[in-house]
């Protein structure tokens, strides 16, 4: 492999992995922007989305299922499920605590995360073929390869570029563009920004803040749902413990970019993806240090820009 190829490869894998992190980070950062709650259950919500995706694929016949049928189905059903679940959790766990100190809701979110993890463990024990007949509840699950791993640049090429990378970009980039448009241009989006800026003033202006918050949880949940579909299609694996790790990465991305800031979350995700790819793919024994470097970058950024790469508002953080 020539040095150019090495760099290109690094960009491909780094972007592909980073965009998935960015997608999860968006849900984190949106909820934080509106009610200043770090929703620690967000990563685990994404994990449950992965389990639903596997269940649906199992019902459609697993490996044999037609990707043209299954992928659109997943992209509809899983975000709908995650959005509904996120909305329900908000109504049950966070809504009653709206007036309480911020830490109370934060601790509730950790509790919800525990509940989700155990739901995932239970789900993995379902007596279905795709769950190893339910005998290996805690084991990592294999997600059928619906897309294929054929190298689009030909088998001789040193560069690996597959349909999976195309899928990640094709799903996440338009979605992020649509989200930006939604928040900037629509009535509800404007209301969201108003609530984020000053909830009291927004209410005085006649904005139904409760409705806006619910909508934020719906949208954030749906984004986690899309992230879970893209994740399982690209990585072909899921497990009940994956939420913590992915949530942590996404949270780091959100803080790196400036929590509450949508383009910042995307930028943060991409930075993490690229740093990881460089560490693991180029530096000898770099995998050992990749987390340290990611958090080192975070500390550096926060030391010089306490509000993150793109964050500007100076607001109280948890």
């Amino acid at each position: 492999m020539s040095p150019t190829e090495v760099v290109l490869q690094l960009l491909v894998t780094g972007l592909s992995n980073g965009l998935i992190i960015a997608l999860i980070a968006l849900g984190y950062t949106m909820v934080y922007g509106i009610i200043e709650l770090i929703n620690f259950a967000h990563g685990d919500l994404m994990m449950l989305g992965c389990f639903l995706a596997l269940t649906l694929v199992g019902l459609c016949g697993g490996e044999a299922a037609s990707p043209w049928l299954v992928i659109p189905l997943l992209l509809l059903a899983v975000p709908a499920f995650c959005a509904g679940l996120n909305w329900t959790v908000d109504r049950l766990a966070y809504h009653p605590l709206r007036a309480a100190p911020k830490l109370t809701a934060l601790v509730s979110a950790i509790g919800v995360s525990f509940i989700f993890v155990n739901l995932g463990l239970f789900w993995g024990g379902l007596p279905m073929g795709v769950f190893a007949g339910g005998t290996q509840a805690a084991a990592q699950k294999d997600f059928p390869d619906l897309i294929g791993y054929r190298n689009l640049l030909g088998t001789e090429s040193g560069l690996q570029f597959t349909l999976k990378d195309v899928l990640v970009v094709a799903v996440t980039v338009p979605l992020m563009a649509a989200l930006t448009w939604f928040v900037r241009r629509t009535r509800l989006g404007t209301a969201m920004r108003a609530v984020a800026q000053d909830p009291l003033a927004a209410r005085l202006m006649g904005i139904d803040t409760d409705r806006v918050i619910s909508a934020t949880f719906l949208i954030g949940g749906a984004l986690a749902g899309v992230a879970s579909v893209v994740f399982v299609l690209a990585n072909n694996s899921l497990s009940f413990w994956m939420g913590y790790r992915n949530g942590m990465d996404a949270f780091t991305a959100a803080v790196l970019g400036g929590i509450g800031n949508l383009p910042g979350a995307v930028l943060g995700g991409i930075v993490i993806g690229l740093v990881r790819a460089t560490m693991e793919g180029v530096v000898p024994n770099g995998g050992v240090w990749s987390n340290a470097v990611v958090f080192g970058v975070l500390i550096l950024v926060l030391a010089f820009r306490p509000t993150g790469l793109l964050g500007s508002r100076a607001r109280e953080k948890v």
Binding site: M1, G14, N17, A139, N235, N236, S239, E280, P284
Partner: protein, 402 residues
């Protein structure tokens, strides 16, 4: 009559005590300390069955120097419901209970190497022999492969009283390297999960591969919980390695690694230690990525590969318990058998004599084959099975380490 009651009672008590004393003199107790609560129970039930079988074969008695002793076996649990697995507090309590019972001549266990670390020193100070059917952490017996103070920290005045019939983990790295050489791999890429078990085996693999003239193209730690290993796979591909060795477990990314290697079209096979040898690997990696592409070393042979006394054990086990012995059952059986052999060799009910007899055990002809205990208390046995996956099942490929 009533006035005489205390005297009668006292007499009765004396009689009972005397009977107890007589009984105690004719009894030899073997205890096992294994996690009987929690997820290890399936495996340890099979281990206990193996020990019971060995004692039943001896007829439940042993004659030493003209005295016939009854063999008593106590199946102790070293797990607690709170921990869900072995518990250091329970393990130490078990060790003390065994030490304080003069009838106990051997302590069979433990299952977990961590539990052994707790029990080894007190048992050693009390001069009670400990024989493990399942501890594979090399540092328990071998200097230089574990932590800095191992194994001396388990030995009072350097005295060895801990023995194991199961080959330690480092042997897996050794036979794995031999296997890689036999497969014609000119260069290998070695990965590890940065944990005691995985790193130890990976180091041994690297060391032995280099000794055998196999080039080690890379030696790297990985983050077992990563979403994927694609950047790392690129590095492996660039290195041109013909085989990837992963000192790790199914829980620390073996499945994802197999899948990512396969998906990236890397021809190199993936080799790993016995922590790959479980159904969870199939569930996690999918059959396609494993089929004839994953190589697993495992201590001991599958039941159908056993011959001679090993086969006799499998047959007897099936007949007695109407089921298949789990992987480590034969080691538990062998542990109990070698303890009985040591007692017979010692010729008396004496803890020090049993330890000496075990330490001097040479060319023991047992279910595992003919083997000896070396100066560290390790078995000289190095036989392992090499396995791969065929049609979604582990399949025996060849004997290793002969």
């Amino acid at each position: 009559m009533l006035r005489r009651l205390p005297t009668t009672l006292a007499a009765l008590l004396l009689l009972l005590l005397a009977a107890g004393a007589v009984h105690a003199a004719e009894n030899i107790t073997l205890v096992s300390s294994l996690p009987r609560t929690g997820s290890a129970n399936v495996q340890t039930t099979s281990l206990v069955n193996g020990i019971r079988l060995a004692i039943a074969e001896a007829g439940g008695t042993i004659t030493l120097g003209g005295t016939t002793y009854t063999l008593t076996y106590l199946d102790w649990d070293d797990a607690s419901p709170e921990a869900g697995h072995w518990d250091p507090a329970v393990e130490i309590a078990n060790a003390n209970k065994a030490i304080n019972d003069p009838d106990v001549m051997a302590y069979i266990g433990t299952y977990n190497s961590g539990a052994a670390k707790v029990a080894m020193l007190p048992l050693n100070q009390a001069g009670l022999a400990m024989v493990s059917p399942a501890n594979t952490w090399p540092g328990l017996t071998k200097p230089g492969v574990g932590e800095a103070n191992e194994p001396e920290c388990y030995r009072d005045h350097g005295r060895v009283s801990y023995f194991r019939v199961v080959p330690a983990d480092d042997i897996q790295g050794q036979v794995g390297a031999q296997w890689a050489k036999e497969l014609g791999a000119a260069s290998v890429f070695v990965l590890h999960d940065r944990e005691l078990y995985g790193l130890g085996i990976a180091k041994m693999f690297k060391l032995n591969a280099e000794k055998l003239g196999v080039k080690v193209a890379g030696f790297e730690g990985i983050d077992g919980k990563a979403a994927n290993f694609r950047p790392l796979i690129n590095k492996i591909r660039q290195s041109g390695a013909q085989l990837v060795y992963f000192g790790g477990t199914t829980e620390t990314g073996a499945g994802q690694l197999a899948k990512d290697l396969f998906n990236a079209g890397v021809q190199a096979k993936l080799m790993g230690p016995d922590a790959f040898f479980n159904k969870a690997l199939m569930a996690g990696a999918g059959d396609k990525a494993l089929e004839e592409r994953v190589l697993v070393t495992f201590g001991g042979l599958p039941p159908e590969q056993q011959t001679g006394k090993g086969k006799a054990f499998v047959d007897a086990y099936r007949a007695a318990y109407h089921g298949e012995p789990e992987g480590y059952a034969i080691y538990a059986y062998e542990s109990a058998k070698v303890v009985l052999a040591a007692l017979a060799k010692a010729g008396k009910k004496d803890r020090a004599a049993v330890v000496a007899a075990l330490a001097g055990m040479r060319d023991y002809d047992g279910a595992l084959g003919t083997w000896s205990f070396d100066a560290n208390g390790d078995t000289t046995l190095m036989v392992m099975s090499g396995n791969t996956v065929r049609a979604g099942q582990f399949a025996f490929v060849k004997l290793l380490g002969k």
